[in-house]
């Protein structure tokens, strides 16, 4: 017969011990990520395939779910959709205008030559951050598919984020709407640099912020496109981020700030493209 060893410990003592362990873990990880990364990578490799599987079930479930909605809801939705159509028509006109502008600018900036030059890998979003505070997500491609940290991620024709962590079969991406995200960008028409940051409170309206834009000629108006800057050391140059939604002059009278509507929609995000070219910087090429 096997004898069981019972370790009896008061729960508040145990709490103290476990707190010390956890604080130790925090300190250990802060001082050297070499200990933590293999563990996290291994856990990710176990979790990611399961999430991948369950995610497909979830996708089916959500389509089923929408099928069950009752008629009342549908008629209300119909009304809403009709108003949305009117809204969208308006937006479409605006977009057609800005797309004309874009094609002109693309020619100016040779974007049409630069975009296809980047090699891309398609990937699927399999899970998202468990809270409502940050916008990071995991895709089902990893180092096995040649994904590396700092690779740019695009969707629906615009920049969506950057790879922050990579496992064998998964990669974690920080979206540009994430409150922690900072992208070095520029106005496409004037090449003046600015910073684009995510904003949690603007997320509901689908807007992100930009600041530090010099625009003494007032050339940047609503609808102007903002692209990634060529002085950024992580983002490839000329990737479209979004269009200026509103802009105002800062109290220093030198720079302007405002909001951008990103090209890519984040709520409905399922497929992304990972650009496998890394930005070549002095640091990288050494």
């Amino acid at each position: 017969m096997k004898r069981k060893v019972h370790i009896s410990m008061k729960s508040n003592h145990m709490l103290a011990v476990m707190t010390i362990v956890a604080v130790g873990v925090i300190l250990g990880v802060f001082t050297s990520s070499r200990i933590a990364e293999p563990v996290r990578s291994a856990v990710g490799s176990v979790v990611a395939p399961i999430q991948n599987g369950i995610n497909t079930i979830g996708g089916q479930l959500s389509t089923q779910f929408s099928g069950f909605q009752n008629v009342q809801k549908l008629s209300a939705e119909n009304k809403e959709l009709k108003s949305q159509i009117a809204d969208l028509k308006e937006k479409n006109n605006a977009l057609a205008q800005s797309s004309d502008e874009l094609t002109r600018l693309e020619k100016l900036y040779d974007l049409d030559q630069e975009y296809p030059q980047y090699a891309k890998v398609g990937a699927e979003v399999i899970s998202k951050d468990p809270g409502n505070w940050f916008s990071t997500f995991v895709v089902n491609k990893g180092s096995d598919d040649g994904i590396k940290v700092d690779m740019n991620v695009m969707a629906q024709g615009g920049l969506i984020g950057i790879v922050t962590r990579v496992g064998k079969t998964w990669a974690q991406v920080r979206a540009i709407i994430d409150d922690d995200s900072n992208v070095s960008a520029m106005a496409a028409s004037t090449s003046e640099p600015c910073m684009v940051t995510g904003d949690l409170l603007g997320m509901d309206e689908g807007k992100i912020k930009f600041y530090g834009l010099r625009d003494s000629d007032n050339a940047i108006i609503e609808g102007a496109s903002i692209v990634t800057s060529n002085i950024s050391n992580k983002y490839l140059p000329g990737l479209l981020i979004g269009y200026v939604s509103d802009i105002s002059i800062d109290s220093n009278n030198l720079t302007k700030s405002g909001t951008i509507i990103p090209v890519a929609s984040f709520r409905s995000l399922r497929e992304v493209l990972i650009l496998t070219d890394l930005k070549q910087t002095e640091e990288n090429s050494k």
């Binding site: 707190t19 856990v43 079930i57 979830g58 479930l61 998202k128 468990p130 409502n132 505070w133 974690q172």
Partner: protein, 175 residues
């Protein structure tokens, strides 16, 4: 032991639901904190020791996959598990009112700590905006899911506790 293993599997299932299924349902305005529901429920039913162990494991899962400061969620969930476990003395049946209250307070406390650690310290001082825009929607959706899931957790845990009790009373079946 068997009960704990099954509970861990349910915890893992909740984690998968919270990260890989629920965020993709567009009708949901905020992703509910299923892990917190699980930690609070188990703590309320089983007491401080199991509460904090569950919290520790739940936090570990989050920290190893999505954690920004490794160990942060672990510590917060652990303390929430411990604190909720102290209310186990008033637990006696599957009434959902007390757990609802505990989940509300716990989610609020968790959100406040999260806000201070990740947002206030980065100079995001607009607390009112975050309260209305992020914290309250999450609490509401978490409460709705508590109504659905608490009975489920209760049934599963309760039936297994009964089996364990019987096993302890019997002279023959003892491991």
């Amino acid at each position: 032991m068997k009960r704990k293993l099954i509970l861990f599997l349910i915890l893992f299932l909740f984690f998968l639901l919270q990260t890989a299924v629920l965020p993709f349902i567009p009708a949901l305005w905020a992703v509910p904190n299923l892990l917190l529901i699980f930690v609070v429920s188990i703590a309320f039913m089983q007491g401080t020791t199991e509460g904090m162990t569950t919290g520790f494991l739940a936090g570990l899962l989050v920290d190893l996959t999505y954690g920004r400061i490794p160990g942060f969620t672990m510590v917060v969930y652990m303390y929430l598990g411990y604190w909720n476990g102290r209310y186990a003395r008033i637990y006696f049946d599957e009434d959902v009112k007390v757990p609802l209250l505990l989940v509300t307070v716990s989610d609020f406390v968790y959100s406040i700590i999260y806000y201070v650690a990740y947002f206030l310290l980065r100079g995001r001082t607009n607390f009112g905006g975050y309260l209305v825009g992020v914290i309250l929607p999450e609490i509401v959706s978490t409460l709705i899911f508590t109504l659905i899931l608490y009975h489920l957790i209760y049934r599963i845990n309760h039936s297994m506790v009964e089996v364990e009790k019987k096993g302890k009373q019997s002279l023959w079946i003892r491991d």
